[in-house]
Amino acid sequence: MIPLITAIPLLFAFTIVMLDTLRVKGAPIKAAFLLGAVLPAGVPLLRNGTEVVGGWSREAGIEVGIGEVNGPFIAGELILFTAVAIYSLSYFDFRDRKTAKALALFLLIHAGLLGAFISLDFFNFYIYMEIASVGAFALVAFSEEPGSRRAAFKYLIPSLLASYMFIFAVGLIYMETGYLNVDIVAEAAIPSRELSAALGIAFASLLLKAGIFPLHGWLPDAHSVAPTPASALLSGAVVKAPAYGMILLFSALPLGEAIKTVGMAIAAASIFFGIAMALLQRDAKRLLAYHTVSQMGYVLLGIASMNFTEAAYYAMAHSIFKGGLFLGIGSLGRKSRKLGEFGYRGAPVMAFSVLALSLAIGGVSPFIGAYAKGLISSGLSGNWSLVVPLGTVGTLVSFTKLNHYLLKGSPGKLRTAWKLSTSALAVAALGLGIYLGAKVKPADFIYLAVSAAIFLALRELGLFDREIKAKPAEVGREINVLTAVFVSVMLALLLLQRP
C-alpha cells in the first residue's frame, strides 16, 4: 500500500507524456497533472507503519515506511506540491508544446521525492533522490531567463559527481555489512575504517546536494533562475531529500564524536554565511536562495545533534514557508526581480501572505517556524544553543529589508491562482503552528525590536546600497572550484575520523 505514494505520480507522469505524444491538449493533461499531484496524499491518511515491497523478506526486499521521522518530510512535500501544482497550472502557457513536458517533469520530481522520503533502504533512497534531481536539472534549464542553461550545467555536474561518490559509499557499506536496509545495517555495523570512510564520503556528497556552506556554490544560480513554481519546489523540497539521507546515514552507521562536532560547526557556519550573503543581495529571488543555504543549516544542526524528528519538523516548516515566499515574490516580481522596483502596494492578500511567511521564516510565534526552532534549540546544549537566537535575529533583519523594499513598489497583474496558492501556504504556516502548539511569546517582540534596530543601523551605515555582484566567470572554471572544495571537504571529513 505505501509504495502507491510514488507509483501514482509516476503513472500520471507517463500518462501526460503519452497524451502529449498523441497531441491531446488542454483539459485531460491538466486533469492528469492534478490527479498525480493530489492523489498520493491519500496514502498516508490510509496507512502508516512499514512494509516490504512485493511481500518479500526484509533482508531480500526493499523496505518502505511512513513513520515518526519521515512523516513530517512527507507532509511538507505534499502540502507544498499541491500549492505548486495549482500555481503552475496558471503559470505555464498551455498553447506551448513544451508545457506538457514541464508538467511531466514536475510529477517526476514529486514521485522521486516521495519515493526517497518513504525509503528505509540506502539504494532505493539513492535511486529516488536521483529521479528527483534529474527532474530538477531539466526544470532549471527549462527557464526562459538568460543564464538558465549555464546555471543548470553548474548544478548538473557537481551534483552528479556527488551522486557517484554517494553510490560508492553505499557500495562500501554493502561490502562491510552485507545489507542495504537501514535497520539491519545499524544492527550489523561494527566500527571499522571502511565504515568511517563510507560515512565521510556519503556525508560530504549529501552536504553538496543539500546546498550547505561551503558546498552551496551551485544553489543561488539554480534556484534563482528557475521558473517560479520550480524554484519553490527546488528550495522547498528537493534539497530536503539529501537531508533525509543524512538522517538514514547517521541512524545506521557508528558515529564518532568528531563528526558530530564538525556537523554542528558546518551547520552554524552555513546559517550565518547564508544570512550575511542574503543581506548583500539586491535580486529578490537570489536573496531567498541564500536563505535556503541558511535554513538548511538549521536542519543540519538538528541532524548533527541527533534529534532526527526535530530536524524533520524543521524541514517541513521550511518547505511550507520558503515555498510560499518563492511563489509570492516570484509572482510579484514578474517584470524585474530587483529590490525596490516591485512590491505589494495595492495587493493586500499578497502583502499579508508575504508578511506572514516572513514572520514564519523568522521564527516568530505562533507560526510554524517558531515551533520548529523551539524543537531544534531544545536539543542543543552549551554554546551551541546560542546559534538559534542569533540566527533568528539575522533572518529577521534580512526579511525586514525585503519587506522594506516591497512596501515601496507595486506589482504587475496578479492572477487569482497565484494569490490563492501563496495565501494557502501562509495559512498553512499559521494553522500548523497553532495546531502543533506554538504559543505567543513575549520574547519574540524583543527579537523583532532588536532586528528592527539593527536594520535601521545598517541602513544608516549604507550597507543596503552595496551589492555583491559576482562577475560570472567561465562556467568550467566555477565547476572546477566547486569540485576542489568538495574534494577538500571530503578529505577533511575522512581525516577527522582517524582513531
Binding site: P3, A7, L10, L11, V17, M18, G54, G55
Partner: protein, 133 residues
Amino acid sequence: MKMSTVVRSTTKMVSPFLVTYAAYLMLYGHLSPGGGFQGGVILAVAVILLITSHGYQKVRKRFHFNWASLMESSAGAMLVILGLVGLAFGAFYSNFLPIEGGVILPFNVIVGLEVGAAFTFVFYILLRWVESD
C-alpha cells in the same frame, strides 16, 4: 550520409538477428543471464545500426519519432500498472502469476520495450543536431 553497399547489406542482414536475440534475452531473462535492460539495449542497437548505415532520413520513415515516444511512455505506465495489479493479490508488485518466474517474465518484457524505445528516442533527439545528413 549513406555508407557503402557492403555495410548497408550487412546491417540489413544483422538487424533481424539482433531483434531475435533481444527477444530471447527478454523472454529467458529469469532463467539465464540477461534480462529486460540488456534485451532493450540490443533492441535499440538494431535500430541505431540501421540509422548509422542508411541515414536518419530513410529510417525515420519506418520508425517514427512519435512511435518511440509513445512506446516509451506506455511501457512506463504498464510497469506501474503491473505493480498495481499485484496490489489485488496482497502487496505492490506481489509475485502473483502462477508460471515459472512469476511476474518477472512480463516485467522483463516491458522493461525491454521501455529501454529499447527510450534509447532509440534519445538517439533521435541527439541526431536532430546533425540532421543535415
